[in-house]
Symmetry: C2
Subunit: 277 residues, 2 copies
C-alpha cells in the first residue's frame, strides 16, 4: 500500500499524521489519521482504533475530541479511518445517513454498493496491515472504540474479531441496528431485505456468542438521537443472558456531540488501558 | 441587549452556551460563546476572554481546543467573541486576512469600515456588560488570552485596560503588527496611512507604558507564519526596556494550529489562575 503523508502536526508531545492512499478493498482513494505518542522511553505501544459517526471523516475525532492528550498520557497509538468509501465514482445517496459518510463498517452485498462499500474488510484487513507498520515498537495489542454509527462499528468489528481486540467501548452506539431507523435503512440498502443477512452486522446478535471482549458504553441522557435511534435494550438483554461484561453508563444532561465525547474520553481510555497492559 | 440562546451543550460538568444578539456598537447581529463551569461549591467565578485568529468564529476555540476541561478544573468562566462584524450589509474583502473574520479587535476610522468595524468597543464595553450578567457568582476578576490575530487583540485590549485584566496570554500573537504584512494591510485599511494612528493598536507600542499586566506568550518553532508575520523582537525589546513581566516561550516542533493551542492551554490557564485567585 502506497501512502502519501498529507498533514503532520505535533500535538501533546506526539505527532498527529494524516495520510492518503489507494484502498484495494474499497477501490478508491481514502484518507486516515494516526497519532503516535512520543514514546520517549521506547516502550511497547498498543493501538486503539476510533470509528466515527455519520457524516464524519477522520478529521472530526482528531480535531474535536482532545484525544491526543490521553494518547500521550497513556502512550498508546490511535488510528482513525474515514467513515465510508469516497469519490465521484463511488455510489452515494442524498441522505446524510446513507452512502458517503455512512458506510456502517460492513461489507455491502447489494448493487450499486457492493463494489466500494467494504469498510469491514478495509479496516480489519487492509488498514490493519498498514497501521501496524506505522507504529514503531508496536506491542501487537489492539482495542476499538467509536461513536454512534462508529459505536456500532466498534461493537461489531470488536466482537467479530474477539481474539484480536482486548476491549471495546462506544459512545451512544447504534447497538441494536436492526431495531432502529438508521440501521434498517442502511442494512436494507447495503445488505438487502432478507434480515437473516443482517445478523452478522448487528451487535445485539453478535453479543450472544460467548467470550466477547469487555465492553464499556456511555450514553448521554439528553442525546437527541437516543429515543429513536440508540435503543440499547435488545443489546443489553442479550448481553446479560449470555454473561458478557458490559458496563452501560448514563451521562446525565449530555447530548450526542463531541462535547459529550470529550468529557468522557478519559474514562474510556482508562478502561482500554486496563486491558492493553 | 436582547440575547437569543442558539446552542447549549453540557461539557465536562459545566455548560457551553452560544448566543445570538444585535450589537449596537457593530450595528449587526453577532454570535458569541460562553462556558460556565459547574460551580458546585457556589464560589466566586472569574472570567477569561478568548480572542480567536483570522478566519475564525466563536466556534473554533469551543470545538477544537478542549478548554472546557480546564475551565471546569479551575472553575472559571470563558467567553469567546466572534472575530469581526458579520452580515451581508457589512463591508468585506476578498482576502481572508481583511474584512469579515479579520476585525483585528480595533475601532476602524476609515470608510467603508468605520460603521461596523468597532470590535474594540464591542468587546470592552458592550459584550463585557452582557458577559458579566451571564456569569452567576461573578468575582469581578477578568483576564484575556488569544491566538494569532487574537493574540494581538489580547495584548492590545489587555494593556489598554490594564486595571481590568489581571493577566494576558497569547499563542503565536501578532505582537508587532506595524512591522508585518498582516498588520500593515489591516491597519492601513482600517486606520489609514498615517502611522501615528496605528500606535494605540500596536502591542509593541503599548508595552512601553509602565505597569502592564503579566504576559505569557507561547510560539511554535514550526509555525508556518512565524518567519514573516509573527516577529516578536520589537515587542520583546520594548517590553524589556520598560521592565514588563513577559514570559516568551518557544515550543519546539509545534505549528500554528489548534493542535498547538490545545497542547499548551493548560499552562496558560494555570498562569491566568495565579492572578485570578
Amino acid at each position: 500500500m502506497s501512502l502519501k503523508l498529507i498533514e503532520k502536526h505535533r500535538s501533546f508531545g506526539g505527532e498527529q499524521y494524516k495520510y492518503r492512499h489507494y484502498s484495494k478493498s474499497l477501490q478508491c482513494d481514502m484518507t486516515f489519521s494516526i497519532y503516535l505518542p512520543s514514546n520517549k522511553e521506547e516502550k511497547k505501544i498498543p493501538l486503539i482504533w476510533w470509528l466515527s459517526g455519520l457524516t464524519c471523516t477522520d478529521d472530526n475525532f482528531s480535531q474535536k475530541s482532545g484525544f491526543q492528550r490521553l494518547a500521550e498520557k497513556y502512550q498508546v497509538a490511535v488510528i482513525i479511518p474515514d467513515t465510508s468509501p469516497r469519490g465521484e465514482n463511488v455510489a452515494d445517496d442524498e441522505g446524510w445517513d446513507l452512502g458517503q459518510g455512512a458506510g456502517f463498517y460492513l461489507n455491502a452485498t447489494q448493487d450499486p454498493w457492493a463494489k466500494h462499500y467494504n469498510m469491514y474488510t478495509y479496516i480489519v484487513d487492509e488498514l490493519t496491515a498498514t497501521a501496524t507498520t506505522l507504529v514503531p515498537h508496536f506491542s501487537g495489542e489492539q482495542s476499538i472504540m467509536g461513536h454512534s454509527m462508529g459505536g456500532h462499528g466498534a461493537l461489531v468489528i470488536g466482537m467479530k474479531n474477539a481474539a484480536r481486540f482486548k476491549a471495546i467501548s462506544a459512545f451512544s452506539p447504534i447497538s441494536s441496528p436492526s431495531q432502529v431507523l438508521w440501521g434498517i435503512k442502511a442494512f436494507s440498502t447495503y445488505l438487502g431485505e432478507d434480515k437473516t443477512s443482517w445478523k452478522e452486522w448487528d451487535a445485539s446478535e453478535l453479543v450472544k456468542e460467548a467470550g466477547m471482549p469487555p465492553i464499556l458504553i456511555t450514553q448521554g441522557t439528553q442525546d437527541e438521537f437516543y429515543p429513536k435511534q440508540l435503543d440499547e435494550i435488545t443489546f443489553l438483554k442479550n448481553a446479560r443472558e449470555n454473561n458478557q461484561v458490559v458496563h452501560y453508563k448514563k451521562a446525565e444532561g449530555y447530548d450526542h456531540s463531541y462535547f459529550f465525547i470529550a468529557t468522557f474520553l478519559e474514562e474510556h481510555f482508562a478502561f482500554h488501558m486496563e486491558y492493553l497492559k
